[in-house]
């Protein structure tokens, strides 16, 4: 696809016009420019780096509030505070992704037949799963903080940032659940195989040796084997129970997130619909505010209350009068 870059021509014109403008500008404009440029140049550099860059130096460049409309010179202020929250959540998402890769490897390792009883592997898996679940839970709680009230451009940005992070979190939790359920399934399979194998072994043993003398020995042997397989089964049961619990926790997170995530392919996912909607919600908000103001001014409640109080006083006076007269 063809494009054409006009930046070079634009810059040429801009420099030429700047040169033409500089000698004729008034002193006031010049000093304003100087004031801005001393604080301005490092600001431009800062704005140039990505906001999600981990190492960032917060040089306070302007004492003006970022909310103030600047008079002429572009004072570049700090981004609003909620950006920190969103960056924290984004960093959590990255960390969770890395940990999930680790978890995948740990799952694979645990499922392979090994000589030890694999308790360390289990603990590793448990730890990783708990960490990831906690990260996701924490991120989700922080995400709720991003909700904004009142129609403004800033609140739209916040809402959109919230949506995007919610989508990421939901995808992550779904991935985690899928990993866990496959692990669970394989675990169950292994358990059944193990139990079958044990049963077959015992069955064979029982069939093969019928001698009395060997009976005692075999029984002991059988008992030992049974105990071992019992312990093994109990261990596996516990693991399965834990995995199921974490699955349910994640399900809860997903339910909360699904209200924030946009359904793809619906009208809400259309850019033009969202632009229209913003316009109408702003108008609606204004109407609601005006209506609220009006009803408050009328103060129906206040009037009722005062009328009641007056009635009470009147009744009291009548009562006293009644007492005096009689």
């Amino acid at each position: 696809m063809a494009t054409r870059n006009r930046t070079w021509l634009f810059n040429k014109y801009r420099d030429a016009l700047k040169g033409a403008r500089a000698p004729t500008s008034s002193s006031a404009a010049a000093t304003a420019k100087l004031r801005a440029s001393s604080g301005g140049t490092p600001a431009i550099e800062m704005a140039g780096t990505s906001l999600l860059h981990p190492k960032r130096s917060y040089t306070v460049l302007s004492t003006e509030d970022p909310g103030n409309s600047s008079k002429g010179a572009a004072t570049i202020g700090l981004p609003p505070s909620w950006v920190d929250v969103s960056e924290e959540i984004a960093a959590n998402v990255q960390r969770s992704r890395a940990k999930m890769a680790e978890l995948g490897k740990a799952h694979a390792k645990a499922l392979m037949p090994s000589f030890g009883d694999g308790i360390e592997d289990q603990r590793n898996i448990e730890n990783l799963t708990n960490e990831i679940t906690n990260l996701l839970k924490r991120s989700e709680r922080r995400l709720q903080k991003l909700s904004a009230t009142g129609p403004s451009e800033d609140s739209n940005i916040r809402k959109n940032v919230q949506r995007q992070l919610a989508t990421d979190l939901q995808n992550l939790s779904m991935e985690l659940r899928k990993k866990q359920s496959t692990y669970l399934k394989r675990l169950r399979q292994q358990m059944e195989e193990g139990a079958d194998m044990e049963m077959n072994l015992n069955g064979n043993r029982a069939k093969e040796d019928d001698d009395d003398s060997d009976d005692m020995m075999l029984n002991e042997y059988q008992m030992a084997k049974l105990k071992q397989s019992e312990a093994y089964t109990v261990e596996r049961e516990r693991e399965i129970q834990q995995v199921v619990e974490s699955v349910n926790e994640l399900a809860q997170i997903m339910k909360d997130l699904s209200v924030l995530v946009i359904d793809q392919g619906t009208i809400i996912d259309r850019i033009d619909y969202n632009i229209q909607n913003v316009a109408t919600t702003v108008e609606e908000g204004l109407k609601q505010l005006q209506k609220a103001e009006r009803t408050q001014k009328q103060g129906g409640m206040v009037m009722c209350a005062s009328v009641l109080v007056i009635m009470c006083f009147v009744m009291l006076v009548l009562l006293i009068l009644k007492e005096i007269i009689f």
Binding site: A2, F10, Y13, P66, Q164, T266, I271
Partner: protein
């Protein structure tokens, strides 16, 4: 995917090298261009957290210098004025300007003049200046489409504006595809000739450097035709899904607005019908109404099965599976409701307006002969009280277009009956249509009764019988495309511009209909593309028509022509 992917590539490239939080600012035309190919969630993934229109963003005064602004605008003088104001009071940290068509040097100069703070980082031309409605169908969505009907002397400045927009749009399509075509146009149409010559001037003289692409053995063909060569297709009632929705309800930028139709739940008031995002729509958009009903029923049954299994949750495993599948379930539910709602509403409209009855006669008028029978049928329908005014008008128009020269007495009778029955009928509209698109004005053989070969073909078809009475009509475009495939497009009907000439068949053909395309025609294009004919067809127009829009254009043109005649 060709047109859609071209525009998507442009949008992706815009955000590619810009890191950090961004805001996207569009104008009223580029909003449509971007919305049909890019979704809100995809924008969020690119860290674009705010989308605004350029006129609303100039009203706000908040400074948001932690955001980088990406502007995607058409290079009109209005937009340049907005830009100048915004550059002199910049609200954002960085400004990246993208224009959907070629900028004049004076415009760049004006922008450079206002950029005193030097916030502009780049100025680029990304030629996404058309709305890619379907993979092989684009439109320019021009608001005042009716200027093509009027002769040049009536309103020269607006007509120039119309032609400029058409030429810009066509140029952008070819720049996006990186090709430079051979141009042919429809002989009898002045405006097609004008647009063809201006496009040739743009591509071969004014910006020949920009259009100088690597040449393949066969250049593609650009064929510019006039809507008035085939006025029948936009007047007919449609029975295939996409065309039918547009005819009965109306599709705008792949969105259907159901708010005027009836009381519907909030999430079904406006729906999206896009073949890219909806798999069911993609397989069913060209199917006829009966088949759609069956397919929807099948979809509903499948969905009910899933819903039933979701209610039957007994073990933890079932719960886990339910939560896993919940997003899919929700999406399926939304999709099913959407299609069921559409088909229900359309069935209601068909019932109310007795469209099955009307459409049978329409198809007879469009496809088969028999003037006497046709006259009787139209007369009966005009007498029928339950037929709406617009349907009566269409029937008379279709009759007039076909039997223009035969039995003028009966034609007058129909005109009078129409005028007496329809209160809102603007006098002389049918005659106006005949004057514009009558048999003397048309190129090509609309009814297949000029050429011996066509007559024979029609007779054969009549003997064979037809599969479905309601969908027997083939638009004239289909014949044109077939002639191109056989390499037999007549030079005398469709001359070349300048000294271009082409031997043999082109491999890529873009047909531009001045006055608008219809979804029935885009269906023919898609079907021909699916059959391996060796040629890829793309279709575009100044708008996407249904009968309401076509009639509105005619009325507006007639109104202007009348005031002009009175003034003169």
């Amino acid at each position: 995917m060709v047109l859609v992917s071209a525009v998507r590539d442009y949008v992706n490239r815009m955000f590619q090298d810009i890191s950090g939080m961004k805001v996207l600012i569009l104008d009223s035309q580029t909003v449509s261009i971007v919305s049909v190919v890019y979704s809100q969630s995809e924008l969020l993934q690119k860290e674009v957290f705010l989308v605004e229109l350029i006129d609303s963003i100039s009203k706000s005064k908040e400074s948001m210098s932690h955001l980088k602004a990406v502007y995607f605008l058409r290079p009109t003088s209005e937009n340049i004025q907005y830009m100048r104001r915004q550059l002199s009071n910049p609200r954002f940290g960085e400004y990246h300007l993208f224009f959907s068509n070629m900028l004049k040097d004076t415009q760049i100069h004006l922008l450079a003049d206002s950029d005193e703070q030097e916030v502009v980082q780049q100025v680029q031309e990304f030629y996404a200046d058309f709305i890619a409605v379907d993979p092989y169908h684009f439109t320019l969505n021009m608001p005042s489409n009716h200027y093509y009907i009027l002769p040049a002397v009536v309103d020269p400045s607006n007509l120039q504006h119309f032609c400029d927009r058409a030429v810009d749009g066509i140029g952008a399509v070819f720049l996006a595809l990186k090709r430079r075509p051979i141009i042919r146009y429809s002989r009898t149409s002045d405006i097609a000739k004008r647009i063809a010559h201006e496009t040739a001037k743009l591509m071969y003289q004014q910006e020949s450097g920009l259009f100088d692409f690597r040449r393949m053995e066969m250049s593609p063909l650009l064929l510019i035709v006039d809507r008035r060569d085939d006025p029948v297709t936009p007047l007919l009632n449609q029975w295939t899904y996409q065309a039918m929705v547009h005819e009965l309800i109306g599709i705008q930028d792949n969105k259907v607005d159901l708010r005027s139709i009836g009381k519907l739940p909030k999430d079904q008031q406006e729906v999206v019908l896009s073949s890219e995002q909806d798999a069911f729509f993609k397989t069913n958009m060209y199917e006829n109404f009966g088949d759609i009903g069956m397919n929807i029923k099948r979809m509903v049954d499948d969905f009910q099965q899933v819903a039933k299994s979701n209610q039957n949750i007994q073990t933890i495993e079932d719960m886990a599976k339910f939560v896993d599948n919940y997003p899919e379930y929700r999406k399926m539910h939304g999709n099913v409701s959407k299609h069921v709602t559409l088909v229900t509403e359309m069935s209601k409209i068909v019932e109310e307006r007795k469209l099955m009855l009307v459409s049978e006669t329409e198809q007879e008028l469009a496809c088969n002969g028999g003037q006497v029978a046709a006259f009787e049928a139209v007369n009966n329908l005009l007498n029928n009280e339950s037929i709406s005014d617009i349907d009566r008008l269409r029937l008379v128009m279709l009759y007039a277009l076909r039997y223009e020269k035969e039995s003028p007495v009966q034609l007058m009778q129909l005109f009078n009956k129409l005028a007496s029955r329809s209160a809102k009928y603007k006098q002389g509209l049918v005659q106006f249509l005949l004057k514009q698109a009558g048999v003397d004005k048309r190129t090509g053989d609309l009814y297949g009764n000029r050429d011996f070969l066509n007559i024979a073909r029609n007779m054969a078809r009549g003997l064979k019988g037809v599969e479905n009475v309601y969908t027997q009509h083939q638009p004239l475009l289909f014949q044109t495309m077939e002639s191109i495939i056989k390499g037999r497009l007549r030079d005398v009907d469709y001359p070349y511009v300048g000294n271009h000439f082409q031997q043999g068949r082109p491999q890529e053909v873009i047909i531009f209909i001045v006055g608008g395309t219809t979804y029935e025609e885009s269906r023919s294009v898609a079907q021909l593309n699916a059959s391996s004919s060796g040629i890829r067809f793309l279709l575009g127009g100044t708008a996407v028509l249904n009968s309401k829009r076509f009639l509105k254009d005619l009325e507006e043109a007639q109104g202007i022509a009348r005031t002009n005649a009175n003034v003169v």
